[in-house]
């Protein structure tokens, strides 16, 4: 049993689904902390409570200080004091620090920059969940076992010595009777210790099972094809019983479950659904509507038949973000007329591998990926794209759901999926929920309504002044990836796709 347990633990650190995205646990943000442009990477520990590592890159002026401050979405008592960061000697402009994240769920890290242009700060939502399993290495197993055996033998010997000689008058040699009693006591101690070790192993196993059971899993969902008014729809349905009973306090109490906060719109949509064929040749980004926050039907684009991975991004009022994961089989015989129910829906089908740096867009313009010579997992700065007109001049872009562009990164086996914006992996609605929350927001739904209104207002005023779209990100693992980039021109959403083979990160030991 112990061997099985050790083997279970001895697997390498396994990244499962990391909330908000799939297999991509780091939080990335690019934006402004007051007058200072910053890029922030937050590496959560993979366990909760745990210590997250925070890296802040400040562009331009050298700041006098960069501090970081963690908080939880509903903590109304006070905020903890800011933590200092230290400049990274080998990388000017980069600052590193640590934040303790004590409770799971929707947390935040506020980055404060002080420098020649005064003070500036920005709040970055961080989803903290348990998603990793830490290995019990062989040297550790051997070391603990040897010490454990030594201590057990030591304790048995101490009991024997105490019974044999402990109650004798000073200097008196032990009698046969006391030796006999000592042997009996040592035998009894061995049995008790054996039971304790056995019980301890069972306890440890039980703790491990509980940990595994409580590791983060997205809300259970299922994708099906339904026909409504003669139009084929993809319906992403949240089947998770905790979600379905979210307003039933007694059910939640009986099942020891926490109540989810309501969903809020992100970029004006309650859910962003991505359908990616298993061979990654077809891709769609659609936006369902929902009347009950359980069924999310969206018009099915004219995708070819086959098996699709379905990813549904949602944001809770708490700032917590989810990617719902399911699968969908589209029959080859299904007739799917072109047309959209939502003008922001888009798709790209029949893609061939594109290892190059340029892709043609539907309107004749091109998008160029300033790709590095080599992709290495963990190396940031790989996703920068330039959109040009057919004649090579800079192309003008329109806001696509309030952003200069959207990108989707997926590994060929579906183990990694992330939906990116120029501001990073975070959701704009989630960030607004943190900024706008007040002490009076204890009534569910009240904050979400304000967040949606504010986001819609911000989107209506958005303007894009550059033909360069970049996404702060680093590929989390090695493997073959496809990257879809979406921009908007002439009122039309244009999608391009690129491929990248990412090699494993070289362990620096840092």
């Amino acid at each position: 049993m112990i061997r099985t347990f050790v083997r279970t633990l001895s697997v390498a650190v396994v990244y499962l689904i990391a909330s908000g995205h799939v297999g991509s646990p780091d939080t990335w943000f690019e934006g402004n902390a007051g007058p200072y442009p910053v890029t922030v990477q937050i590496q959560t520990a993979g366990v909760v409570p745990g210590v997250a590592r925070v890296f802040v890159r400040v562009a331009g002026d050298r700041p006098a200080s960069v501090t970081i401050q963690g908080n939880k979405f509903d903590a109304q008592g006070a905020a903890p004091p800011p933590e200092p960061t230290e400049p990274v000697a080998s990388d000017p402009g980069l600052y590193a620090g640590k934040i303790w994240i004590m409770t799971g769920g929707s947390n935040s890290v506020t980055v404060n920059v002080t420098g020649p242009r005064g003070n500036g700060s920005v709040v970055i939502p961080v989803v903290a969940v348990a998603f990793s399993r830490y290995p019990l290495s062989t040297p550790m197993v051997i070391g603990l076992s040897v010490l454990g055996v030594f201590l057990c033998v030591g304790l048995i010997s101490i009991v024997g010595a105490a019974i044999r000689e402990g109650s004798l008058d000073p200097g008196q040699p032990p009698s046969d009777r006391s030796r006999k009693r000592a042997r009996f006591a040592m035998g009894l101690t061995s049995v008790i210790l054996g039971l304790l070790v056995f019980g301890g192993a069972k306890w440890w196993q039980s703790d491990d099972d509980n940990y595994e059971k409580n590791m983060y899993k997205p809300l259970a969902s299922a994708a099906t094809i339904e026909t409504r008014d003669g139009i084929p729809m993809v319906n992403v349905s949240i089947t998770d019983s905790v979600w379905r009973h979210r307003n039933d306090a007694s059910w939640l109490q009986q099942h020891d479950a926490n109540a989810w906060t309501p969903l809020v719109e992100d970029h004006g949509k309650l859910m962003h659904v991505f359908l990616i064929s298993e061979d990654m040749s077809s891709f769609a980004h659609v936006h369902p509507d929902s009347k009950d926050s359980i069924d999310f039907p969206a018009r099915l684009p004219p995708l070819p038949g086959g098996r699709y991975r379905v990813f549904g991004d949602v944001v809770h009022e708490s700032g917590f973000t989810h990617t719902l994961v399911s699968a969908l089989d589209i029959p080859a015989t299904l007739q799917l007329p072109a047309g959209t129910a939502d003008p922001d829906d888009s798709w790209l089908i029949g893609l061939k591998p594109n290892e190059g740096s340029t892709a043609a867009l539907e309107d004749g313009s091109t998008i160029e990926w300033e790709r590095p010579k080599k992709f290495v997992a963990g190396n940031p700065g790989a996703l920068r794209f330039v959109v040009k007109n057919a004649d090579g001049s800079p192309a003008s872009l329109e806001p696509y759901m309030g952003m200069a562009g959207h990108a989707v990164v997926a590994r060929a086996d579906g183990a990694v999926f992330v939906h990116l914006h120029p501001m990073g992996t975070i959701s704009m609605a989630s960030q607004m929920a943190y900024v706008m929350r007040t002490a009076e927001d204890s009534v569910r739904g009240r904050l979400g309504k304000r967040v949606s209104e504010a986001e819609m207002s911000a989107m209506s005023h958005a303007a894009i002044h550059s033909n360069v779209v970049s996404f702060p990100y680093a590929f989390p693992r090695e493997g073959p990836y496809r990257v879809w980039v979406q921009v908007k021109r002439g009122g039309k959403v244009l999608t391009a796709a690129f491929d990248a083979n990412v090699s494993a990160a070289v362990e620096s030991g840092s």
Partner: protein, 404 residues
């Protein structure tokens, strides 16, 4: 080393001269060293718990950890030296007062237990570090590595107590017996304090004192120690002395901690505390301890089975009688002051009416508070206490014979 005075050179009934006193200090220093170690461990633990309830963030080198580690170092070094000295360069009396370990090494029983406890504390550090990485930072106090650590701490305290006990039982004159009896009593108090701190989460808050769970836990855990130590002690009113020291140390901790300004350094903060959060007011153990002393004195060393039934019943009965109304007082505004330190909660607690309510009530089949369920629960508590008392009597009898 642990021998108070070499048995071969002792004369009974003589007053201790200055040279005797110096010699006693010279030979007894390990007893005092491990008593200091045991005390710093339990004080460090009380401080550490307060640190987690107030500040949150700590390091391996935080002051309470240093106090606990300091205890382990004192224990390990002093007893390690004692074992080596006795084995390789011990005097005849030192060797005479020791036991053999693996047929070669020699030291008093208590020293071996202290060394074992130190090793347990050391081994718990990498285990705990691994546990934090695997399952999170101190998700719960009752975790496997914490239990290894607690075993080590308790072992050091038991070792300290055994060293004092052996010396007390060897003492040939009243002066030594009294001095070493006091040392034994103090080291026994440290263990009772440690045990009460370990069960603090489930059996310390006034809110818990009207549910049978509180009496089951205290009935199971406390009598075995209190009764064993009372039987092994050579002082008068032994259990009462131990209970009073336990209460005094905890009360002083409450008062001192409240004086120290501190604020939380981790989120989420639901209760913005500004001073160190103290432990809850100590259990009123002096009451059952007083009755234990009276009953044990009356019974002597005879009829242990009858005695354990009486002691177990009296322990729970006294605990219920005293804490039932004491709890009401502690939850009242009259206790919310510096002296009692009531109503002071962790920074992670969302304050609400639960603070002034009774928890863990015994419920009937309908989910309502039930006197029958409470009575059944208390009967179980008495059964636990009887078993605990019987074990304590047996353990105490064994300890009273320890001479090395």
């Amino acid at each position: 080393m642990a021998v108070s005075v070499p048995a071969v050179s002792r004369t009974s009934g003589t007053a201790t001269s200055e040279s005797d006193f110096s010699r006693a200090v010279a030979t007894e220093w390990p007893i005092y060293a491990v008593l200091i170690a045991a005390t710093s461990i339990v004080i460090g633990l009380i401080w550490d718990i307060s640190w987690h309830r107030t500040i949150g963030r700590d390091t391996f080198w935080s002051p309470p950890h240093l106090l606990e580690q300091g205890g382990a170092i004192i224990s390990g070094l002093s007893c390690g030296y004692l074992a080596l000295k006795t084995t390789f360069a011990g005097t005849a009396s030192e060797r005479a007062n020791s036991v053999r370990f693996w047929r070669f090494f020699q030291a008093p029983v208590g020293a071996w237990v202290c060394i074992w406890g130190t090793l347990m504390m050391i081994i718990s550090a990498p285990f705990d570090e691994w546990w934090h990485r695997a399952y999170g930072l101190d998700v719960t106090i009752i975790s496997a590595p914490h239990m290894v650590l607690a075993s080590g701490m308790v072992a050091i305290q038991l070792g300290a107590m055994l060293m004092a006990l052996g010396a007390q039982n060897r003492a040939r004159n009243e002066s030594d017996r009294k001095r070493l009896g006091i040392v034994f009593s103090l080291s026994a108090s440290v263990i009772v304090l440690m045990v009460c701190v370990i069960i603090m989460e489930d059996a310390a808050y006034a809110n818990e004192m009207r549910g049978s769970q509180f009496y089951k836990i205290t009935g199971m855990v406390i009598p075995v120690f209190l009764i064993a130590f009372a039987r092994a002690s050579r002082l008068s009113w032994p259990a009462t002395r131990i209970a009073v020291v336990y209460m005094l140390v905890l009360m002083i901790s409450i008062w001192v901690l409240q004086l120290v300004p501190a604020t939380p350094k981790l989120a989420p903060i639901y209760n913005p505390v500004t001073r160190m959060v103290p432990p809850p007011f100590p259990l009123l153990l002096f009451a059952p301890a007083l009755l234990i002393d009276i009953i044990m004195k009356r019974f002597g060393d005879k009829r242990d089975w009858t005695l354990s039934v009486i002691l177990g019943t009296v322990f729970v009965g006294t605990m219920v009688s005293v804490h039932w109304y004491w709890a009401k007082f502690l939850l009242s505004p009259n206790a919310r002051n510096f002296f009692f330190g009531a109503d002071l909660w962790d920074y992670t607690r969302r304050l609400g009416p639960w603070r002034y309510e009774f928890w863990n009530s015994d419920l009937g089949p309908g989910g309502q508070r039930s006197l029958v369920a409470l009575a059944i629960g208390l009967a179980i508590a008495v059964a636990y206490a009887i078993v605990s008392a019987r074990l304590g009597l047996a353990w105490g009898k064994g300890m009273s014979r320890i001479k090395r």
